[in-house]
C-alpha cells in the first residue's frame, strides 16, 4: 500500500472520530504524566540519596558540666575519655574519617549560623558541646556507631542524620508508589479507551473493511490504518506528557529551589529525556497490542 493512501485513510479516520481521538490523547497524556512523575520522584530520591550519603555524618556529642543526660552524671567529658573515643573510632573499619569539633569551634560555628538572631547573646562558649563528626564508608551502617558509643563514658548523645533522611526518603517512596499505582490505573483506562475507540472506528468503517476483505486485502493492510491512528493519537498523548513533565520540573526546581545550593542533588531535564523512550515505547506497545486484539473479530474470514 502506498504511504499517501494510508495517510489519507488515517486522516479521514481521525476526522470522523475526532472526539474519541481527543479523549485517547488526553487519557494517554494524564497516565503517562503520572507514570513519569512517579518515576522522576524515584530518580530524585536516588539522586538525593547519593548526594546525602556522601555527606552524611554521625555526630557524637560529648558531655559538658551542664549536660542533663544520665550517661554524663553531671560531669564534663575528660581528656582521657575524649581520647579513648577518638582512638576507638579510628580503629573501626566502618569509619572513613573522624573530625573533632572543639567547644570553641562549635561556638564559632553557632555564632556564624545564627549571626542575625538575638539568641546568640545568651549562649556562651561551653554551652555547645564538643563533638566528633564521623563519616562512614557505608552510611547505612550508622547503627554500629550508635550502639557502640551511646553508653560510652563521656558521651552525651549520638545523633544520626540518616534518621531524618530516612523519613524523607520514605515520603518520596510513598509518592512514587502512589503515582505509579494511579498511573497503572490510568494506563488500563487508556488501553480500554483505545479498544473502545478502535471498535467504534471499525464499526464506522465496516463497509470499507467488508470491501477490503472481499477484494483480498491482507489482514495487516486492514489493520494498518487503525494501528497508525492509535499510534498517532497515543504518541501525541505521550509527547504532551513529556512536555508537561519537563515544564513541571523547570517550574518546581528552577524557580522554586534555585536559591538552595543543592543543584547537584536535583534531577533535571536529562532525567526526563532518559525516561522519554520508555514512555513512548510502552505506549506504542500498548497501542499496537490493543489494536490487534480488538480488531481480531473484524478480521475473521
Amino acid at each position: 500500500m502506498k504511504a499517501g493512501f494510508i495517510a489519507g485513510e488515517v486522516w479521514s479516520g481521525l476526522r470522523r472520530n475526532l472526539s474519541m481521538a481527543l479523549s485517547v490523547i488526553l487519557v494517554t497524556m494524564v497516565s503517562m504524566f503520572l507514570l513519569g512523575m512517579g518515576l522522576l520522584a524515584q530518580r530524585q530520591a536516588d539522586t538525593m540519596k547519593g548526594y546525602w550519603y556522601d555527606r552524611i555524618q554521625v555526630s557524637i556529642y560529648l558531655c559538658t558540666d551542664t549536660s542533663l543526660q544520665p550517661n554524663c552524671q553531671g560531669q564534663a567529658a575528660t581528656e582521657a575519655q575524649q581520647e579513648s573515643i577518638e582512638n576507638q573510632l579510628k580503629a573501626m573499619p566502618e569509619v572513613k574519617e573522624v573530625f573533632h569539633e572543639s567547644e570553641a569551634e562549635a561556638f564559632a560555628r553557632f555564632k556564624e549560623q545564627f549571626r542575625n538572631s538575638p539568641i546568640t547573646g545568651n549562649v556562651q562558649q561551653g554551652d555547645i558541646p564538643q563533638s566528633f563528626r564521623v563519616q562512614l564508608s557505608d552510611p547505612t551502617k550508622y547503627a554500629v556507631v550508635t550502639s557502640q558509643f551511646e553508653r560510652a563514658p563521656g558521651v552525651a548523645s549520638v545523633q544520626d542524620q540518616e534518621k531524618v533522611l530516612k523519613r524523607f526518603f520514605q515520603i518520596i517512596n510513598w509518592i512514587t508508589v502512589f503515582s505509579v499505582f494511579l498511573a497503572g490505573l490510568m494506563v488500563v483506562c487508556a488501553a480500554l479507551l483505545m479498544a473502545t475507540t478502535i471498535r467504534q472506528a471499525a464499526f464506522i468503517r465496516r463497509r470499507e473493511i467488508g470491501i477490503m476483505r472481499l477484494v483480498g486485502a491482507s489482514n495487516w493492510t486492514i489493520r494498518m490504518p487503525f494501528i497508525i491512528e492509535m499510534l498517532v493519537v497515543a504518541t501525541l498523548g505521550v509527547g504532551l506528557a513529556v512536555g508537561m513533565l519537563w515544564l513541571g520540573l523547570r517550574l518546581i526546581f528552577n524557580l522554586g529551589f534555585n536559591q538552595v545550593v543543592l543543584n547537584k542533588a536535583l534531577i533535571g531535564a536529562n532525567d526526563v529525556w532518559a525516561l522519554t523512550p520508555w514512555l513512548f515505547g510502552g505506549v506504542i506497545v500498548i497501542a499496537v497490542l490493543t489494536s490487534v486484539v480488538t480488531l481480531r473479530r473484524y478480521l475473521r474470514v
Binding site: 500500500m1 463497509r207 472481499l214 477484494v215 483480498g216 486485502a217 493492510t221 486492514i222 474470514v301
Partner: protein, 232 residues
C-alpha cells in the same frame, strides 16, 4: 474452474440444511445462472465459492484450490483472483467513482502507475467514461452497479460471482447489466450469476442451475427459467 462435489451446508444454529449434496462443475469461460426461489440456497453457493463460508461436507474447488483446506491466512490472496458483485452495490459513499474502483487495487498493494491506467480503462469498459469524479449518490442504480462491476473486474479476476446484481434494478436496466456481464464473460472471465429474475435468464439463454430447498433440481445448457407460481 468451480466445482462442487457432494457439497452440503448447514448454518450454525439452523436445523434445515441450506444446501444438500450439490454437484456442479463450472468450466473456465462459462456463464452460469443459478436460479431458484428465495431461500433455495443461491447466495450460499456463492458464499462457499468466495470462502466466506465453509462447506459442512463435500469439497468446493475454485481455481484449482480446495477451499476446505485453505487456511485463513491464504484467503486474501485467493480472493484477489475472484470478483464479486452484490444486489446492494456496496460502494463507499464518501469516495468518488474513481476512488471506489481504485480502492480495490490500493488495498492489495498495486502500484500507483498501474492503478492510474487500470481505473479509467475499466470504467470505460463498463460504460462510465466521464463519470469518474461523481459520488455514488449522484449516479442511478444501474450506474452504481456498473461501478461495483468495474471494481470487481479491475484486477482482472478469472471468476466473477454475482449475487442478484439486478435485484434492485428495473427490467430494462437489468438487461443492460446482464449484457455487460455477458461482455465480460466473452473476454474470458468465468461468470456465475444468482438471480430469480426469469426475464433476464430467458433473454440470455445460457446454462441454468436451478435450486430448490438447497437441492439442484435442474442443470441445463441453453435453458430458460420458468419461475414457479408466486415468484416474479
Amino acid at each position: 474452474m468451480i466445482r462442487f462435489d457432494n457439497v452440503s451446508k448447514v448454518y450454525p444454529r439452523s436445523t434445515r440444511p441450506a444446501l444438500t449434496d450439490v454437484n456442479v462443475n463450472v468450466e473456465r469461460g462459462e456463464f452460469v445462472f443459478v436460479v431458484g426461489p428465495s431461500g433455495s440456497g443461491k447466495s450460499t453457493m456463492l458464499r462457499l465459492a468466495l470462502r466466506e463460508e465453509k462447506a459442512t461436507s463435500g469439497t468446493v474447488l475454485v481455481a484449482g484450490q480446495d477451499l476446505s483446506g485453505l487456511s485463513a491466512r491464504k484467503v486474501p490472496r485467493f480472493r484477489r483472483g475472484i470478483g464479486a458483485v452484490f444486489q446492494d452495490f456496496r460502494l463507499l459513499p464518501g469516495k468518488t467513482v474513481d476512488q471506489n474502483v481504485a480502492f480495490a487495487l490500493q488495498v492489495i498493494g498495486k502500484p500507483t502507475s498501474a492503478i492510474r491506467q487500470l481505473v479509467p480503462e475499466t470504467l470505460e469498459m463498463v460504460g462510465l467514461e466521464g463519470k469518474g469524479k461523481r459520488l455514488p449518490h449522484q449516479l442511478s442504480g444501474g450506474e452504481q452497479q456498473r461501478v461495483a462491476i468495474a471494481r470487481a473486474v479491475v484486477n482482472k479476476p478469472q471468476i466473477l460471482l454475482c449475487d442478484e446484481p439486478t435485484g434492485n434494478l428495473d427490467p430494462k436496466i437489468s438487461l443492460d447489466i446482464v449484457h455487460l456481464l455477458d461482455r465480460i464473460n466473452r473476454s474470458g472471465t468465468t461468470v456465475v450469476m444468482a438471480t430469480h429474475d426469469a426475464d433476464t435468464v430467458n433473454e440470455m439463454r445460457r446454462r441454468v442451475v436451478q435450486l430448490e430447498d438447497g437441492v439442484v433440481v435442474r442443470d441445463a445448457e441453453d435453458a430458460t427459467y420458468l419461475a414457479p407460481e408466486g415468484e416474479k
